[in-house]
């Protein structure tokens, strides 16, 4: 689960990570109260969406920049009015962009130097890793590729936690002066506590800055959480913003379906994540374009199949459907019955290819054949994929 920058900053403050003073606003009326909480002077206005690249983004009405520096609070209020309710397109949002429903005002900090700091899981060692760099405010992947010597990493032993010597390794690597080092040590410890105590998947501070008076601040913050651990963090779960999520994905999750929208026109309905991914791949392999990833899970019920059909048909781009089920334990005939009922219930008009394999498959195929529906049967994944690609192209 992702959260907004203003929510992340509040969480950072709670754990003792210094951030520039700021206040969010969801309506023009709230601009006044939010700005009243900040001192007079240079102010940043930041669009709150769950996507990066905001500063370089463009709004759909042509207004440029989702993050703006303003010399006065009055200017900030005016700029905020242009952002709120407007749709921001960045490199990460896709062409549709995201509607800005919250703006965040912060004091504009004096920056001496920008750094990078993040904590995430290192899969290779199965341990958390803290990554720091003297190159902040830029893409860390680029730094890692071009100047790997400017990146410092420490792996955390989960049995002991973050050791002080590891903090020193990072601080000396960043070549901070003594006053900065003292502040950075406290900050890194606090950030680690946040990561570990909240079951975060990643905390990324880019940039982390030093100021002329040797303060160390998190100027931006990206925090995401492990969905599987949300059950033990009710206050964090409350930070979820459904406006930032695809409505079809939310609907799917209510039925225990895992759905991700893509930009093609062949919808897929599959059991199992690996098979669902490779069903998308095989459609592409034979020249088609998948419209979605959809995993109905191991025990697909009739209700789930009906819900799945409704969700994939909610995508106007869909021109055909490929159902690919390997019924290992499940009875294929139960699945076939579910498909037939679902097709009748939603009044499907589009081409449908079904590939059914596994337990009681003969009865399942007979149910499909006897249904009177104009669906096409596929023998293997390859056969079925070629059939649906051909039908959609026709």
């Amino acid at each position: 689960m992702n959260i907004h920058e203003y929510q992340a900053k509040a969480l950072l403050e709670k754990f003792g990570v210094p951030v520039p003073k700021g206040a969010p606003a969801k309506t023009p009326e709230e601009f006044v109260t939010a700005l009243a909480a900040l001192p007079e002077g240079p102010t940043m206005v930041k669009s709150q969406i769950h996507a990066g690249g905001r500063g370089k983004g463009t709004f759909t009405d042509g207004f440029k920049g989702g993050v703006k520096f303003c010399k006065t609070k009055a200017d900030a209020k005016e700029i905020a009015g242009k952002m709120l309710g407007n749709t921001l397109v960045t490199l990460q949002t896709g062409p549709a962009g995201r509607k800005v429903q919250t703006v965040y005002f912060t004091v504009a900090s004096d920056i001496k130097k920008e750094y990078y700091l993040a904590i995430l899981l290192d899969r290779a060692t199965s341990r958390p890793v803290i990554v720091a760099s003297t190159e902040g405010g830029v893409e860390i992947e680029k730094v890692a590729h071009e100047t790997p010597e400017k990146i410092f990493k420490v792996h955390i032993d989960p049995a002991y936690g973050l050791a002080d010597y590891q903090i020193r390794q990072l601080i000396f690597g960043l070549r901070l002066n003594p006053a900065e080092a003292k502040n950075a040590a406290k900050l890194i410890r606090a950030l680690w506590n946040l990561y570990w105590d909240t079951d975060a998947s990643m905390v990324e501070i880019n940039p982390l800055i030093t100021t002329p008076d040797d303060q160390v601040l998190a100027l931006d913050a990206k925090v995401s959480f492990d969905d599987n651990a949300l059950y033990r963090h009710p206050t964090i779960t409350e930070l979820r913003d459904l406006n930032e999520e695809d409505s079809k994905e939310i609907e799917a999750s209510k039925f225990g379906l895992s759905y991700i929208a893509l930009d093609g026109n062949i919808a897929c309905l599959v059991n199992g994540a690996g098979l669902a991914m490779s069903t998308m791949d095989i459609i592409k392999h034979f020249g088609g374009n998948p419209a979605n990833f959809l995993d109905v899970g191991g025990g697909a019920s009739k209700e789930q199949v009906v819900a799945a059909f409704k969700i994939i048909l909610g995508d106007p781009n869909v021109k055909g459907i490929f159902v690919n089920i390997f019924g290992g334990i499940m009875d294929c005939n139960v699945i076939a019955t579910g498909i037939v009922e679902a097709v009748k219930e939603v009044g499907l008009k589009l081409p449908l290819v079904v590939r059914l394999e596994g337990n009681n498959v003969v009865a399942g195929k007979k149910t499909l054949a006897d249904s009177g529906l104009s669906l096409v049967s596929g023998d293997s994944m390859a056969d079925a994929a070629q059939k649906i690609v051909k039908l959609v192209a026709a």
């Binding site: 290779a124 492990d226 690996g274 191991g298 290992g328």
Partner: protein, 307 residues
Amino acid sequence: MAILVTPQSKILVQGITGEFGARHTKLSLDYGTQVVAGVTPGKGGQFFEHAGHKVPIFNTVADAARETGATVSAIFVPPPFAGDAILESVGAGLDLAVAITEGIPVKDMVRVKRAMQGAKTRLVGPNCPGVVTPGTGEGSRGGCRIGIAPGYIHKKGRVGVVSRSGTLTYEAVYQLTVKGIGQSTCVGIGGDPVNGTSHLDVIKLFNDDPETVGIIMIGEIGGSAEVEAARWIKANCKKPVAGFIAGATAPAGRRMGHAGAVIGGAEDTAAAKIAVFQECGIEVAVTPSDMADALIRTAQRSGVALS
């Protein structure tokens, strides 16, 4: 010989009285697997009964292992308690713990993996379909089935299968069986970012197993485990290996069902992994329908009889 488990292996089931655990324990008993004990705290002394089988239930794994000689655990415990369940099987000194549970918090697995360092117990999973060593009976009955895989699609034989994904494993196994090619052992290592046994661990076991003559390795986007295994294969494995990577069309940054199936950097895309497979002499299945055929191609080239 098979790897990890044989038809004689004695299995206990943690979470045997839960709906999920009970359903699959019945299927394993039907398959002929030696399920000798169940563990549900507070239900010690009761029995799990199915089709003439009467499996004793114990309060703790240590009790179950001591009383029945079970050396392997199948874990069906719900996610909030599954990490603890894994550690209980480690504490009881079992040889193997197979964690089927999906949705265990990453932090729990990070801690469990650290706590398991140096322990004799091997962990397979979590979030995996389990392990099957097929038997010689009808529909491969008489084998050892731990987890949730359909037993009947297997056939006893000489090909090892290792995969992160459940249904994709079944797909590969089924393709082999239909072509008359049996399997030594099929291992689902699970789709989570932090798991016990890796692709490479299983490949090493297959390489050392005289009964296994060919290997299918199925991977997906995310992480670098398949790449690590492929490089080891190039340097050390003399047996023919076919590979498949799911997720070539997956968009970056989106988690594709499995918690671990997410593209983070340039190295964990399907294209990058497939390139490494090819460079390491692994015959790449062009589509998921091609997995068994890919193994047949490479086996023929090296003059290995798969069945």
